[in-house]
Structures are given as structure tokens and as C-alpha cells.
């Protein structure tokens, strides 16, 4: 059986590893941390802004793919993204993700902006705003990362992407997640919402404060393990509810992560978490093995193919040193985007900082290319945030890139090793 090593346990790494294992490969997934899904918003962003607001992500990314050759979507293509989305939806099912590649939801954020995203938790769908909707944004006094007045008053003065406005009010209620604690995290609340008895108390407190016809916006803490917690809350309140994602720790991201990790395990992926991959060995240009740093002794994993899905600067897969030199920290891969002039500038609200578009370049089969367009190592592939050329967070494209590149890389590896 052919052997593959995947480095990185975010959306790209977990998706690719699962697909590889399901396709018959023996897969080892090495990761330093717990994966980026738990830092993000817990929705699947494909394309949100170009910078104009995007309503049909797959259609719009096809245009980007043809007009911006440096963008990851040029290599991945609309078909790749489509395949990635369908694969993930199939893996996780409608209890975790709904939506399709042709439509963006426009959902409120925890500051009250309206954010385009492609696949969402069903617990967020009622947040897709329609003109003349009546909303109430409900804060929890002991949860500081969700300030309901800020959300409500920004939504109230925003014209919806399709035109029209919504009526929004806000309120705060005091329902402790743990007795005696005034500073509870979203995660603490999510665990509390897993308990049906807590949901009863919560709904009993909130229900009398709601008005006829109101849709209830809540912080995205409605259950960590119990995927029906949000709908149970809605039933008990007798009102539609929707979750609004918070800054990390991301409860919706944790739900996705847990489900995807379970799928990877079930598919037979061997998980080696907690160790940084620090070195590699090559022979005749091909990667032979990578070495992780462990408490006892360094340990090498050999394989026939390697997939780098370790993320970008946010995870340490890319680094800039104090002299301004930028590097990919494991293989020392050639990076694109370094010749764009100064990599950072002083205008915070101005153009995207070029630094965060730096990354590796890939071919259509997701093998890593050098500056001249030649394959660097015949058996080294890349997926996700390590691929440069996009403003992932600003344009809301990170998950589409991760999924498309993961599926394409997995399929290329399976084909190559067949």
C-alpha cells in the first residue's frame, strides 16, 4: 500500500488525509497544533469579496481563475472548488453544513457587519437577513466577546446586500454558565448548552423578553457536542434563532473539527499530533522522509508522497525573521509574492499588506512549483493556506482554497501512486 504523509491538521490537512485514506492510501497526519478550524468562524468561505460583495462564489471564482494567474484559484479552478465543497458536505452532512457553491449567505458578524460565506451551520441560517425582518440580538452578560448593542446598532443602520433594512433591538440576559463565574468563555457556555437542563433555564429566562415575530440572534455557543442544542433552544423559545460566530475559541469551528477528525480516524488516518515537523530528507530530488521533534528522540516518517498543509504565517509554516527574510520553515520552498515591493506598509485601512499574500505556488495537480514554473520535488504537494497569492481573510476565500487544493492534491497523489 502506498504511503502518504500529510503535514497540518486544519481544514486542508484533515480533508486531504481523509480522502487519501478513503482512496486506499496509508496516511499519516502530522500536526503541531490543533488545527486552524478552531480559530476561524466555523463557516466555509469560498469567495466573499472581489472586493465587491459576491453572491455566487463559484461563478465569480471562475472569473478570478482566468484573470489572476497568481491566485490559488487559477490552479484550483471552479471544478476543484466544487469537488472540495461537495466532498466536505458529503463527509459532514446537513447537521453540520448546509448551502451550496452557487450561493453565499450574508450573515451578521459579532460586530454587526454583514459577512458573505458559502456553507454554514444550520444554526446560522436564520441570520441570512431579509428586508423588514425583525431581529433581537441577545447577549450574555458574562460573555464579553459578544456585545449585543454593537451588533444590533450596526445591523440596524446597514442596507442589506439585496436592499432594504431590518428592524433590530438588543438585550442582555444574565444566565451563568458556571456558578460564581462572571468571565465565561464561549467554550464554557457551549458546554453548558450541551446540557438540556441548562437550555430549559436559558429559554425560561429569555422567552418572556421576546416579542411576536422576532428572530433571535445569539452568540455561537449553542452546544459543543450536541448538534441539536440550537434547534432545541429555538423550539423552547418558540422563535427562530441564529448563531453569530465569535473570535477564537470558535465553537462552530470546534464542531467542524471534531466531526472531521472523527471522519479521518474512521477512514484509517494515523494521527500524530503535538509534534512539529522540523526536517526532511530528499534523494534525487524526491522527498524520502520528514522528521518530527518529539520528547524522546527525533522521529522520521518515510512515505511515497508528502502533502504540506501547514497553513501560513498564522501557524508558523511561514516566517519572517528580524532582517525581513521570509521563508517556508520546513522544506525551504521557493515563495511567490516576495518581489511585490515592500511587504508591509503603514496604512492599516489601506491596501492589503503584501506579506500575507506570500506563499508557495502550485501546479494544477497541487505540486509545488519554483519561480520558473518547474516542479520542486516530484512527490511534494501543497494545500490550504501555505499556497500564496490570495488575501484569504479579506476576500473570504480561505476555506474554498483549502478544500479545492486538498481534494485535488489527494486525487493527484492517488493517481500518481496507483
Amino acid at each position: 500500500m502506498s504511503r502518504v504523509v500529510v503535514i497540518g491538521a486544519g481544514l486542508a490537512g484533515l480533508t486531504a488525509a481523509t480522502r487519501l485514506a478513503a482512496g486506499g492510501a496509508s496516511v499519516t497526519l502530522l500536526s503541531k497544533g490543533i488545527g486552524g478550524l478552531q480559530l476561524g468562524q466555523g463557516t466555509i468561505d469560498v469567495l466573499g469579496y472581489t472586493p465587491d460583495r459576491v453572491t455566487n462564489p463559484v461563478l465569480t471564482l471562475a472569473a478570478i481563475a482566468s484573470s489572476r494567474p497568481e491566485h490559488p484559484y487559477a490552479a484550483i479552478g471552479a471544478a476543484g472548488v466544487h469537488a472540495g465543497i461537495e466532498y466536505l458536505k458529503g463527509l459532514l452532512g446537513p447537521e453540520l453544513l448546509v448551502g451550496d457553491a452557487e450561493t453565499n449567505y450574508q450573515l451578521p458578524t459579532a460586530v454587526g457587519a454583514i459577512r458573505p460565506t458559502c456553507l454554514v451551520s444550520p444554526s446560522m441560517v436564520a441570520g441570512h437577513l431579509k428586508a423588514d425582518a425583525k431581529l433581537v440580538i441577545v447577549g450574555l452578560r458574562r460573555l464579553k466577546d459578544f456585545q449585543p448593542k454593537l451588533v444590533a446598532q450596526n445591523l440596524a443602520r446597514t442596507t442589506l446586500p439585496d436592499g432594504g433594512n431590518v428592524t433590530v433591538r438588543y438585550l442582555s440576559i444574565d444566565v451563568p454558565a458556571r456558578d460564581g463565574e462572571v468571565d465565561s468563555s464561549g467554550l464554557t457556555y457551549a458546554r453548558a448548552f450541551d446540557d438540556p437542563a441548562f437550555r430549559v433555564g436559558f429559554a425560561d429566562t429569555l422567552r418572556p423578553l421576546l416579542a411576536e415575530g422576532e428572530t433571535v440572534g445569539l452568540p455561537a455557543v449553542l452546544g459543543l457536542k450536541d448538534l441539536t442544542a440550537w434547534s432545541d433552544v429555538a423550539d423552547k423559545l418558540g422563535h427562530p434563532v441564529f448563531e453569530i460566530p465569535l473570535p477564537p475559541p470558535s465553537v462552530p469551528g470546534m464542531r467542524l473539527n471534531a466531526a472531521l477528525l472523527a471522519k479521518a480516524r474512521a477512514a484509517g488516518v494515523r494521527l500524530v499530533p503535538g509534534s512539529r515537523t522540523v526536517a526532511f530528507r530528499a534523494s534525487d530530488g524526491a522527498i524520502v522522509g520528514v522528521t518530527i521533534e518529539t520528547a524522546g528522540a527525533p522521529r522520521e516518517f518515510t512515505a511515497d508522497a508528502f502533502l504540506l498543509a501547514a497553513g501560513g504565517f498564522e501557524s508558523g509554516a511561514l516566517e519572517m525573521d528580524s532582517h525581513g527574510a521570509v521563508s517556508e520553515t520546513l522544506f525551504g520552498l521557493p515563495l511567490a509574492g516576495l518581489d511585490a515591493g515592500p511587504l508591509v506598509h503603514g496604512d492599516y485601512w489601506g491596501a492589503e499588506q503584501p506579506l500575507f499574500k506570500v506563499g508557495v505556488r502550485v501546479a494544477g495537480d497541487m505540486r509545488v512549483l519554483d519561480g520558473a514554473g518547474a516542479i520542486v520535488h516530484p512527490n511534494l504537494y501543497a494545500a490550504g493556506g501555505i499556497i500564496g497569492g490570495s488575501s484569504r481573510w479579506a476576500e473570504k476565500s480561505g476555506d474554498g482554497i483549502a478544500l479545492g487544493s486538498a481534494v485535488l492534491a489527494a486525487d493527484s497523489i492517488l493517481k500518481e501512486l496507483a
Binding site: 468562524q41 459579532a110 508591509v344 492599516y348
Partner: protein, 525 residues
């Protein structure tokens, strides 16, 4: 238009002006302090946090050394909670002249600066990150000081004696009657209101901007040479004492532990405009190299933030104008009667934060003399009121406070352990303040995440408590992130890049802040 009448108008809300208004008020004059921005927003807030023992000047400037030693002891007593008595070392690094230590010790003895040579092994034991190649070490009584607490303490003391403190009031005109200053006109920048203050005397304490103020009164140009220095805060206390290189004062020769960070300083470049202080890449590299000399591996530590300040040095014809380090740091009181035939105004320049109280004493003495009055200075005798006024700061204070109130209070800024109550109380005191105004008192957003997690909380809480409306809330959020970035991008490398990526992920990715309803105009104050 609003009219006020006072004995004395003090212009400039840095340490000098705050010290002066306190002194004036304690001597029984009615007084107003004016600043076009917040207190301590200029030079006072843009230094390295060093409370001099005097050691730095024992060879180059003996008189300053003696003054520093005396004032250090006074301030540590009267403003205890603003000062941490860290102690300090002067160390001879590899390549430095070991014989300088002999001159240093002789100078210290002659100037009354407490100093004691210790074994290198003892220095390394107490500060294990120090360069193991150091050849000599001298222990001194350096401390660290929070410039904002210092200036707010002095201003609050002045207020207790009846003075008014008007921040965000920009002086627009100074009237004369004959040869005498008679009134100061200013604009309340927050409301747009004009304020005219009739007065007997003006004390110009505007630091690098003192020349501009003197010019408004019709005085001949006062040659203030702003000397720009940059500082970089590293995210840990790499040392727990101030560490100085035992050399003639030079660039990048001090590392100062202040609060939870340590600050490397500084450079000195003559600039023309104190409102436009760039943080140049070559100076950043110079500071990092200097840090490597004191602490091997310094470049691998995480730089959090950089800033530049302008020294308010009065031109001294003895040295070349481009070499501001070797101009006297001694204070200079400019008597406009003799110089310009202008009565009722004095300008003070030079000096340093450690001697701010003494500078105030001098200029207020000079004013009393001009007014033909004898009123005793009592600023060294009376403690400045405030929390724990008799207890020197230690870095664990906030941790101790949070341990006491963690079950009652949310922590809004985890990096700096700022509680919700601290924030809402400061906001109630300064409801028109920006988050930077509050930051200077609370350290909001000054830790490793540089506002990544606390900015939206602060925005939401300020809105919820009805101090601001939604338009201003978004404007303040935008302004705070923009201002944090000013000090971030020049030192963006290593782990701070990683942090910035996470912050971008939160603000752009999860919150989509750039697509909030755009303010009609950006909030500036």
C-alpha cells in the same frame, strides 16, 4: 465662546507642564493647564520608561547626574505607585573599554550617585540573560516610571489644589497688552468652542513645540531642536533591572523593564518637525543589534511595538546642531523680558522626565521672582494622592488585584489584566476620550495581541454604557486599530507576524470589520 480668568496659564500637558501646574497651584495661584492633545501624549509618553539614577551622566554631565540622583529619591517617595524601584546595572560589554568603569565610579562618587561595583558572576546570576562576556558590572539605583501615571498624578494633584486641566485644547493665539502677555486663546478641539483665558502669566512648557508657542506670543524664535529617538518594546521582561552599557552615552545602550515588557532605547536624530517622527528601518536594525550586545539572542525575542519621541532640547551653540545627544540635557529657562522685551511669559526647555519636578520648581521660582513674590515650593514634601500612594509599583500588582476580583470582574484585556471596571471607570472620567487616551492610563491593547481581542470588547462596552453612539463606536474602533498598526508595522517580524496574522483573521476574517457601515468621516480625537 467661553471666558476664563486665572493667574497662570501653563501650556503643555507633558511631565514638565503637569509638574509646573501642580507647583503653581500648590503655591496658591489659580491656574489652567492646556494641551492640544491628551496628557502625556507627546515626549512624556514616548520614552523608554527609565527613572534615572544619574549613572548615565556621571561622566558626561555631572550636574545632571546629581540632580537625577536627588530627584529619583524624591519621586520614588512622592509618586510611589508610578515608579518601580528596579535597580540597574551598568555593564562593560565585549569590545567596550573596561577602564571606563573607573571613570564611572569616580564620577559617581563625585556627583553623589550611589554606585557599587559588583562581581560579574553576581550580575549574571541576577540577570541570567545578560551577555556572559561582560567584563565589569556596577550596580546603581535606576528605576522605571510610567510616564502617563506620573503626569496624571501631578495633574490630579494640581486639580486638588484648584487648577483646571483642559486637554484637547489647542492654543491658537496669545494676546499682549503693551509688553505684557494678557490672554491665551484656545480651541476646544472636541467641541469646537473658542476659549479665551485672561491671565497674568504664561508658562510655556510645550517641549518640542515650545518654539511654536513662543512665536505666537511674538517672541523671537526659540531654537528647540527636536531630537528623535526610537524605542522598541519586547514582549517580556528580558531583564528585571535596568541594564545600561558602561560607555559614554550612545545609541541603543539601555534596556528598561517596564510593566510586563522591556524597552530598548534609543537613537538620536535631529528632526525638523516634532509632529512627524518616522521609525526608520535602519534605526530598528540598529536597536536590535544593540540589544544583541546586551542580551545574546535578542533578535529572537518578540518585538511588540515601536515608537518615536522627540527630545525638547534647547539649542546650545557649543555643539554642532546635528549632534543633539551632546547638547546639555540641563534645563533652560528662557526669560522673554530680557530676550524679547516681552513680560509675563517664561519658556522652559531641555531637562528630562526624571527631573520634571525640579524643572517645575525652577521655572515657578523664576515666575515668582518676576512677580516680586516669595512663595515656597512644596512639591517635594507632599505625596501625590492616588491609589496605593505610598507603595512602589511592582509588576505583579495587577495580577494581585485580579486574583482578588476575578469572581466579580471580567478581564477585558487579558494581556495587561485590565478589568471591565477599570475600563468603565476610566471612560466615565474621560467620556470623550479615544481608546488611546484610555490606553495611556489602562494599558489597553498594549500587550502581545496588540488589541486583537480587547478592541471589540472595549468598543461594545463603551457603546453599551452610553458614553458613545454607534457612529463614534465604529470610528473609535477604526482609529485604535490604525494607531496600533503605526507602532507595529515597523517592527513586524518573527512571532509578531504570526500574531498579526491571527488578528487579521479575527478582524477581517471572522468579524469583517472593514465592511461595517463606513463612518462619514474618520474619528481623529
Amino acid at each position: 465662546m467661553r471666558k476664563l480668568a486665572v493667574d497662570v496659564v501653563v501650556i503643555g500637558g507633558g511631565s514638565t507642564g503637569a509638574g509646573v501646574v501642580r507647583d503653581v497651584a500648590m503655591r496658591g495661584y489659580s491656574a489652567v493647564l492646556l494641551d492640544r492633545a491628551d496628557l502625556g501624549q507627546g515626549t512624556t509618553g514616548r520614552f523608554h520608561g527609565l527613572l534615572h539614577s544619574g549613572g548615565r551622566y556621571v561622566v558626561s554631565d555631572p550636574m545632571s547626574a546629581t540632580e537625577c540622583a536627588q530627584e529619583n529619591a524624591i519621586l520614588a517617595r512622592i509618586q510611589a505607585s508610578a515608579i518601580e524601584t528596579t535597580g540597574g546595572y551598568f555593564v562593560t560589554c565585549p569590545g567596550d573599554d573596561p577602564a571606563f568603569a573607573d571613570k564611572f565610579l569616580a564620577g559617581a562618587a563625585a556627583t553623589g550617585v550611589p554606585a557599587r561595583e559588583i562581581a560579574v558572576a553576581e550580575a549574571l546570576r541576577n540577570e541570567p540573560r545578560l551577555n556572559p562576556g561582560i567584563m565589569r558590572a556596577v550596580e546603581v539605583e535606576d528605576g522605571t516610571v510610567d510616564g502617563w501615571q506620573l503626569v496624571w498624578g501631578a495633574a490630579n494633584s494640581a486639580k486638588a489644589y484648584g487648577a483646571q486641566v483642559l486637554t484637547y485644547h489647542a492654543v491658537t493665539r496669545i494676546d499682549r497688552e503693551g509688553n505684557r502677555v494678557s490672554a491665551v486663546h484656545c480651541t476646544d478641539l472636541k467641541s469646537g468652542e473658542e476659549v479665551v483665558i485672561d491671565c497674568n502669566f504664561v508658562l510655556n512648557c510645550a517641549g518640542p513645540w515650545a518654539g511654536q508657542i513662543a512665536h505666537m506670543a511674538g517672541a523671537d524664535p526659540v531654537d528647540v531642536i527636536p531630537g528623535r529617538g526610537i524605542m522598541i518594546a519586547m514582549n517580556h521582561r528580558l531583564v528585571n533591572r535596568v541594564v545600561n552599557r558602561m560607555i559614554y552615552p550612545a545609541d541603543g545602550d539601555i534596556l528598561v523593564p517596564v510593566h510586563t515588557v522591556s524597552i530598548i532605547g534609543t537613537t538620536d536624530v535631529k528632526v525638523d518637525d516634532p509632529d512627524n517622527l518616522a521609525i526608520e528601518q535602519d534605526e530598528v536594525q540598529q536597536m536590535l543589534d544593540a540589544g544583541e550586545v546586551l542580551i545574546p539572542g535578542f533578535r529572537n525575542a518578540r518585538a511588540l511595538h515601536a515608537w518615536a519621541g522627540a527630545r525638547p532640547l534647547i539649542k546650545d551653540k557649543r555643539v554642532a546642531a546635528a549632534d543633539t545627544r551632546h547638547m546639555s540635557r540641563g534645563m533652560a529657562v528662557i526669560d522673554h523680558t530680557e530676550r524679547d522685551g516681552l513680560d509675563g511669559m517664561l519658556t522652559i526647555g531641555g531637562g528630562k522626565l526624571t527631573t520634571y519636578r525640579l524643572m517645575a520648581e525652577h521655572i515657578v521660582d523664576a515666575m515668582c521672582e518676576k512677580l516680586g513674590e516669595t512663595r515656597e515650593c512644596r512639591t517635594a514634601k507632599e505625596n501625590i494622592p492616588g491609589p496605593e500612594a505610598t507603595r512602589n509599583y511592582v509588576v505583579t500588582h495587577r495580577l494581585e488585584e485580579r486574583e482578588h476580583d476575578r469572581l466579580e470582574e471580567q478581564i477585558i484585556c487579558e494581556c495587561e489584566l485590565m478589568s471591565r471596571k477599570m475600563f468603565t471607570e476610566a471612560l466615565a472620567n474621560q467620556p470623550k476620550g479615544t481608546f488611546d487616551d484610555l490606553r495611556r492610563q489602562l494599558r489597553l491593547g498594549m500587550g502581545p495581541c496588540q488589541g486583537g481581542f480587547c478592541t471589540t470588547r472595549a468598543t461594545g462596552i463603551a457603546l453599551e454604557t452610553d458614553h458613545i453612539d454607534i457612529e463614534r463606536a465604529n470610528g473609535l474602533l477604526r482609529l485604535f486599530l490604525k494607531n496600533r498598526w503605526i507602532g507595529l508595522w515597523p517592527i513586524l517580524y518573527g512571532d509578531q507576524v504570526r500574531q498579526t496574522a491571527l488578528d487579521n483573521w479575527i478582524f477581517q476574517g471572522t468579524l469583517d470589520v472593514e465592511h461595517l457601515p463606513q463612518p462619514e468621516s474618520e474619528v481623529a480625537l
